[in-house]
């Protein structure tokens, strides 16, 4: 088959196009990495305490710029506040976008979000309960993480059967989500409206203000591991969007991959929510932006969601902390900034490819 001259010319013509495709992807990858580095650096200079880019270099790489003077305050601000916060915003954006993209593929539904199975709602309940009881911040984070994981375990248990189908999983997720959402309302109802309720409400709208190195040390490895697993499974996600029989007949271990992706996406979501509160929209919007640019192949959608999510979130968080004297909740900005960006893209590209 392969040896015939006619075939070979067709193969060569095809590979020319292939190379162009790869070129496009390489260019995007380079652009995204450059954008992340540039924006992360820029974000570190911005804030109440002004720090120049030279001073950041001098602090981060001591000895590189011997003529720039740095103070201890500067060092503290950079290492204890700015760097953890910028890293968290990058991780949170990348994590939510990747988790959203993987759920959309897994449930073969463009409307799926990282909270489709109630993980984010579960984690929120854990956090607001911790705030209500006046627990220290690390305990609040731990309680959020635990409740998020508990939510996904409940979904597993409810939907478990020999002939388990994806619809059962989604329905169980909706039930668990509704349950935890009611519990969150209950906490808000009983919270002291003078001092507790504002804290709870602020937390529910998402913010990265509480970022510290210790909280990042607990959450970041979970997010990074989760992203890595989904990254490795990205091509398999294409097969997961097919009807179950079809995927099985391609030799895909459908159940195992479904469990693995749900567990990892839940781990990412619970960790992000435990550190930053509820961050909405990113998990829904960013994967669609990625699809508008690269098509539906998850081999591109996952890396693109990762990059775009990180870029989007670092911008949002910088605006959140610098635009006004007090912090603006992140979920307000993701919608206010995200919606117009999304609509412009929708108009320009003609939407996702159907």
């Amino acid at each position: 088959m392969a040896g015939k001259p006619a075939d070979r010319s067709a193969v060569e013509a095809g590979s020319g196009k292939e190379n162009r495709m790869r070129g496009k992807e390489r260019a995007w990858t380079a652009a995204m990495i450059a954008a992340i580095i540039f924006l992360a650096g820029l974000a570190m200079t911005m804030g109440r305490y002004r720090i120049s880019i030279q001073e950041i270099f001098a602090v981060v790489f001591p000895g590189l710029m011997p003529d720039v003077e740095v103070s201890d305050t500067m060092r503290t601000v950079i290492f204890n506040v700015r760097i953890p916060r910028v890293i968290l915003s990058l991780l949170a954006g990348a994590g939510m976008a990747v988790a959203g993209a993987s759920f959309q593929a897994l449930f073969s539904n463009p409307l799926a979000t990282p909270d489709t199975l109630g993980v984010a709602t579960g984690a929120s309940f854990g956090a607001v309960l911790g705030i209500l009881w006046g627990l220290p911040s690390m305990m609040v984070q731990g309680s959020a993480l635990a409740m998020g994981i508990l939510a996904v375990i409940l979904v597993y248990t409810l939907s478990y059967s020999r002939e388990q189908s994806v619809i059962m999983v989604v329905l169980a997720g909706m039930v668990i989500s509704a349950l935890f959402s009611a519990l969150v309302s209950l906490v808000k109802y009983v919270a002291d409206p003078q001092d507790m309720l504002p804290a709870v409400t602020f937390w529910l709208m998402g913010n990265l203000a509480g970022t510290r190195r210790e909280s990042l040390l607990l959450g970041a490895p979970l997010i990074l591991t989760g992203i890595l697993v989904i990254w490795l499974l990205r091509w398999k996600l294409n097969a997961m969007t097919l009807p179950e029989d079809e995927a099985k007949a391609l030799g895909i271990p459908v159940k195992q991959i479904r469990y693995a992706v749900i567990a990892t996406a839940a781990m990412i979501t619970a960790s992000v929510v435990s550190m930053c509160g509820l961050i909405q929209w990113v998990g829904l919007l960013i994967p669609h932006v990625a699809r508008m640019i690269f098509g539906n192949d998850n081999r591109s959608v996952i890396p693109a969601s990762l990059g775009l999510g990180a870029i989007f979130m670092v911008i949002i968080d910088t605006v959140a902390r610098c635009a006004t004297a007090s912090e603006i909740p992140v979920s307000i900005l993701t919608a206010v900034i995200g919606a117009p960006v999304f609509i412009i893209l929708l108009r320009k590209t003609g939407g996702i490819k159907l």
Partner: protein
């Protein structure tokens, strides 16, 4: 490769028996057609035979081994399944779709590489859709999309191709294109095929063996010419069926048609 079903039976729950005690054998490069009225269980039969639905009794065997005991990856390297063509919510290009057929050859974290791409290229050539490579599946005609599904199954390099009504919903010309492709594949690559079909003429035209499902749950398997007879067809489809040979331009064709009020 030898594919066998021994005493296969299936029932939904306890009462609703779909078919009972079905047996047949198929070897390369034979083609087997499965015929039966709507609701006789053609698709159910196909899913049972491939282990996608558990038999109530009996089993399928590949080279004498019960397929339930064959690891799924190994099984799907041998069998290529072409389901009824349906688009999913996320639409892929022809190439992205066909390369999925390589899944059974790649590890859990594997990605298709250069060799896989070449095999995809060959499968696209073989099914005559190489020029559609970069197109979205949703922009294809029914006949073209069917070819994509066949190419995807071929990309797994199977020795048995199982097709669920591959030529339904297609016009005359495309029906012939699909049938000819299947026949050519079986002859050139020496693979076997099982086809669900609504067209007895197609069974007569390309298949060596046929399996006829009756609505009472019994089934008849054997040489196509012995299975597709006026008597059997009348019984299976509950309408009078006549079979006639017609000569067109010196070539014989067999027509199978229902006779109303006959």
């Amino acid at each position: 490769m030898k594919f066998e079903v021994r005493n296969g039976s299936f029932a939904y729950g306890r009462k609703k028996r779909i078919f009972n005690d079905v047996s047949f054998t198929l070897e390369e490069p034979q083609i087997l057609s499965v015929l039966g009225a709507n609701g006789a269980g053609k698709t159910t039969m196909m899913r049972c035979m491939l282990g996608l639905l558990p038999w109530s009794a009996g089993a399928s065997y590949l080279d004498g081994t019960d397929i339930r005991r064959i690891p799924s990856k190994k099984l799907w390297k041998t069998i290529g399944y072409v389901p009824q063509a349906k688009l999913s919510s996320f639409v892929y290009t022809v190439e992205e779709m066909v390369v999925l057929g390589r899944s059974s050859h790649l590890g859990p974290f594997g990605q298709p590489g250069e060799r896989d791409r070449q095999i995809v290229e060959e499968c696209l050539e073989m099914t005559g859709i190489a020029h559609l490579k970069g197109k979205l599946c949703s922009r294809l005609s029914g006949g073209e999309f069917q070819m994509v599904m066949i190419a995807r199954a071929l990309a797994g390099e199977p020795s048995l191709l199982v097709l669920d009504e591959p030529e339904s919903n297609l016009d005359f010309k495309n029906q012939q294109v699909v049938l000819e492709t299947i026949r050519a594949l079986c002859e050139k690559r020496g693979i076997a095929a099982i086809i669900n079909t609504h067209f007895p003429e197609h069974a007569l035209e390309i298949s060596h063996k046929s399996l006829l499902l009756f609505s009472d749950g019994t089934a008849l398997a054997g040489e196509t010419a012995q299975v597709i007879t006026e008597e059997n067809m009348t019984r299976a489809f509950d309408i009078n069926v006549r079979i006639r040979d017609v000569q067109v331009a010196g070539r014989g064709h067999t027509c199978v048609f229902p006779v109303l009020n006959g």
